[in-house]
Amino acid sequence: MKKPLLIVLTAILLLILAACSTTEEEPAAPAEEAEPVTIQGTNGEVTLDAPAQKVVVLEWTYAEDLLAVGVQPAGMADISDYGNYVNIEPQLDETVVDVGGRQEPNLEAIAALEPDLIIGVSFRHDGMLEQLETIAPTVIFNPYPEDESIDLYQEMETTFLEIAKAVGKTTEGEQVLTDLEAQYEEKAAEIEAADLKTKDVILTLAYSGAQAPEIRVFTPNSMASIILERIGLNNVHEPDQFEIFGSSTFNVEGLVKYEDANYLYTVPEEDNIYENQLKGNPVWENLAFVQEGRTYDLGADTWLYGGPLSAETLMNQITDVLVTD
């Protein structure tokens, strides 16, 4: 008695499926007369009939890229955590809708926003590309290319300009980058003038691991490290192997090699390993940069994986702590 039912159900489903696929490509009628734009992601070229008005971003960095050119996203993933890690102006509007986690964003919530464009990141959203494309044109970027020769800063700029183009803000985007270049020069001059004891630095992000703190040390090909170099500092960390995410994971022992450099760090406020765990530790306390007071806190909400605005925050913070000291 179940079988006939099943067959009928299947038949109905297949019919509806067929119906769906024919009606899928309804032409969108944009209100304004606008030029179509084509953007390049890792999933190929994506052409929009007009610059996107309503964008859903599934990764924080790309939300930041949008904010940098003055566009608020329609929806974004993991908004609640965003504020804890990212500190940039302009702030996110309160009207931006939370579409669930970054790893498994809520497809229904995205679809309900009826976006013109979805922006995802390769290592999370490649697997659900087809699903996303049924909602809206989707572009995927990969901030961590497996090709070692690709400079992650370059990647950031390219992606930023693509996103700016997608929302029809190419001029604003270029302006942001030009301003950024000017700032680099300004800050490099400040650093130069400050007459630091050493311009060697390492940049770290720490959090508490299983029993002992884990410290991410940024490699020279990471975006954050290139920003350091731009303002005249020198990242001394040389990883043993290529690190795809742009950082090696160390414990305190590993820092010994770099004790002569300046120690730049960010650490979450509620998980401050330097206060809670390392204070009084003989190895940590005897590291040259601790002894000589050359550790510099960049603040918990300085985002080391962001776009141009985070880059700006990062260099401001670095110059502030290094120069005013």
């Binding site: 986690g101 659900m128 029993q211 005897n286």
Partner: protein, 653 residues
């Protein structure tokens, strides 16, 4: 005789100490600051950097390894005598898991408490799970049953912990992955706490050695020799539990040391509990320090959790032990726990269909915050509808697998996840990813199939002779599972890439299923349902036992093989669609058997419906509980499945 014993003892002690020293030296050399041996040797004596590093990082880690390994091994040795069970250990009895679960609980709900008394919370958990095991396993303390109960309790705690970690992401940030205890130390605090407790308990264990020698002659003899059996047993349980809890509160749950070390000591011919305890301590230390050395060799500069390393060796060991123990097991009668007064299908099917329709309507209409009945709206139609349908179809598949596997193995505990098939499928897929990093995710089912086949092969080979004794097969399956998930963990550290997506895939999720998946699932269900239905007649015949079935003209061997192939094929299909979702295939046939009895055709129909219902419900709950975020439905199912499994075990008297 005495001479020979002395010799064995000397050999074991010398070998143990020698290995321990060699491993300790290697252990001390390993570290991120790459000093050479000569640098270390010259630097360590004078005040300065090298001395600091050795004294505050490397030595505490080594000391913790020695203490934890020894403590776990002695705890295992005590438990093995107490329960008269070669399979007993703090890991297999679920004591480690209970202790760690309580540590997680208190981190989340009473963060202040944990800082002050991690040991107290761990102890509480350890005592609780010991009581649970003893209570659930029954008074006879039959070895395989006890171990099985313990392992299932571990699974239960693991899945609750997993759910908690998802729900309280921020609070559990610093906590490690389940089961992956690690020896990393930052200073002497951990050692300073653990050393006195462990040493004190070790002394207690040695004092108890004599009474335990007498106890192992049997309780009756012991009490006729004037021993207060109750006091001795209680004290011994206390020692074993405190040892385990002290270890877990510092290094987290590390399995299998407590199982292997005492066993190897006994195999070397060491007799008498005093000797056994001393030797176990040394060999436990050897194993744990060795595992830590190995873990750091695999991926220099990275931490492979030492718990994963011990499970990698310990899983197969448990398998071997279970196999040996079970040789002496009597062929138990097979109670499949069904009803003899089946409810008529005409009644039960409509009732089930109505319930399914009810749940489906709810699942289709609610997204966690808003009700809507406009199912044809693209938002609902493109995402929610196919997701619910896929859940249903996959649920049906998993339930059918369960019916087939349980029927052919005549084993009420058989199910792809209990047999370790799903876990090995996961490991196989990850291995593929490690070997060929650029392989598209579409090929992951290929690795999954190989892994699944391997798991099944192992079960077939090891359990054939014992005629698939139910609890033995289940225990072996869980041992294979432990191995599979440890391997997966190591692969994940090794692969580095795509870990996030692989993890989601592995935890089993009905997330993001589209109409393609519905089509794919429907087609495969349509292909496989016919051989499955055809099999029901043979399965019915098998119910009478092998001899009768053969007399009735059934080719038992080929029936078994075919049924297993089809069962595993269907479950691999399910794994390739939704990842490793367990327990549906266990729970659904059981409930069905209580409703419709033993005949396999109605059984398959009813459990298919129930399986679908179960997974749709799990998907619904996972989707709305912390909306707009998702809880993987595999986790939700495990939360329902493990208690049910325990209940089953309790019923299987």
């Amino acid at each position: 005789m005495l001479r020979r014993l002395l010799n064995k003892s000397t050999v074991s002690l010398t070998a143990g100490f020698f290995l321990l020293i060699v491993l300790s030296v290697i252990h001390l050399i390993q570290g991120q600051a790459d000093y050479t041996v000569s640098e270390l040797l010259t630097g360590v004596w004078t005040e300065g950097r090298i001395q600091d590093i050795v004294l505050s990082f490397r030595l505490p880690r080594l000391a913790m390894g020695l203490l934890a390994g020894g403590a776990l091994a002695v705890s295992g040795a005590v438990l093995q005598t107490l329960t008269n069970n070669p399979l007993a250990s703090p890991g297999t009895l679920g004591i480690n898991a209970g202790a760690f679960f309580f540590v997680v609980l208190s981190t989340i709900f009473f963060p202040g408490l944990l800082g002050a008394f991690p040991f107290v919370t761990a102890l509480l958990g350890a005592v609780l799970s010991s009581l649970l095991v003893v209570g659930l396993a029954g008074n006879q303390m039959e070895p395989v049953r006890v171990a099985l109960t313990g392992m299932i309790i571990s699974l239960l705690f693991a899945s609750i912990t997993g759910a908690l970690q998802l729900l309280f992401e921020n609070q559990t940030n610093g906590l490690f992955l389940w089961g992956s205890g690690t020896l990393v130390q930052l200073n002497w605090e951990g050692v300073a706490f653990a050393a006195p407790v462990i040493l004190l308990m070790f002394i207690c264990a040695m004092l108890l050695a004599k009474p335990m020698d007498i106890l192992s002659l049997g309780e009756d003899i012991a009490s006729s020799l004037g021993q207060n059996v109750r006091v001795v047993k209680l004290a011994a349980w206390g020692v074993a539990i405190v040892l385990a809890a002290a270890t877990v509160s510092v290094v987290g749950p590390i399995g299998f040391i407590g199982l292997m070390a005492p066993h190897i000591v006994r195999m070397m011919g060491i007799r008498g509990h005093l000797q056994i305890f001393i030797h176990s301590f040394i060999w436990g230390s050897v194993f744990l320090v060795g595992a830590d050395v190995l873990g750091r060799l695999i991926q220099p500069g990275q931490e492979v959790p030492v718990g994963a390393m011990t499970a990698l060796v310990g899983g197969p060991w448990l398998l071997y032990l279970a196999w040996r123990t079970a040789k002496s097991l009597k062929r138990g009668e097979r109670q499949m726990g069904g009803t003899t007064k089946p409810i008529r299908l005409k009644l039960i099917v409509p009732v089930l269909v109505v319930i399914i329709l009810g749940i489906t309507v709810m699942a289709l209409s609610f997204n966690g915050s808003v009700w809507t009945f406009a199912w044809l709206e693209p938002v609902v139609w493109n995402f929610r509808v196919p997701r619910v349908l896929t859940s249903f179809i996959v649920g049906v598949m998993l339930a059918i697998t369960g019916v087939i596997l349980q029927g052919v193995l005549r084993n009420p505990l058989a199910d792809a996840s209990v047999l370790g098939v799903t876990s090995m499928a996961g490991a196989g897929a990850m291995l593929l990813l490690v070997l060929f990093p650029s392989i598209p995710p579409k090929f992951m089912p290929l690795g999954a199939t190989v892994g699944a086949a391997l798991a099944l092969g192992i079960i077939l080979v090891t359990a054939w002779k014992n005629n698939f004794q139910p609890m033995l097969v289940a225990l072996m399956g869980i041992a294979i599972s432990a191995f599979g998930s440890a391997a997966t963990q190591v692969f994940i550290v090794k692969a580095k890439l795509a870990v996030a997506s692989a993890l989601v895939w592995l935890s089993g999720s009905t997330y993001g299923k589209g109409w393609d998946d519905v089509q794919f699932a429907l087609i495969l269900l349509a292909v496989f349902i016919w051989p499955a239905i055809y099999l029901t007649r043979s399965l019915d015949t098998l119910t009478f036992g092998d001899d009768v079935a053969a007399g009735l003209g059934l080719n038992i061997r080929s029936t078994r093989v075919w049924a297993l192939i089809i069962g595993v094929a269907i479950s691999t299909v399910a794994v390739s669609i939704v990842g490793t979702i367990g327990f549906v295939g266990l729970v659904a046939p059981h409930i069905a058997r209580r409703l419709v009895g033993f005949r396999h055709l109605p059984l398959m129909l009813a459990s298919g419906l129930l399986g679908g219902l179960l997974l749709v419900t799990a998907d619904f709950v996972g989707r709305i509980l912390i909306a707009p975020k998702d809880i993987p439905s595999g986790l939700v199912v495990a939360l329902i499945g493990t208690p049910y499994l325990l209940y089953l075990l309790r019923k299987m008297k």
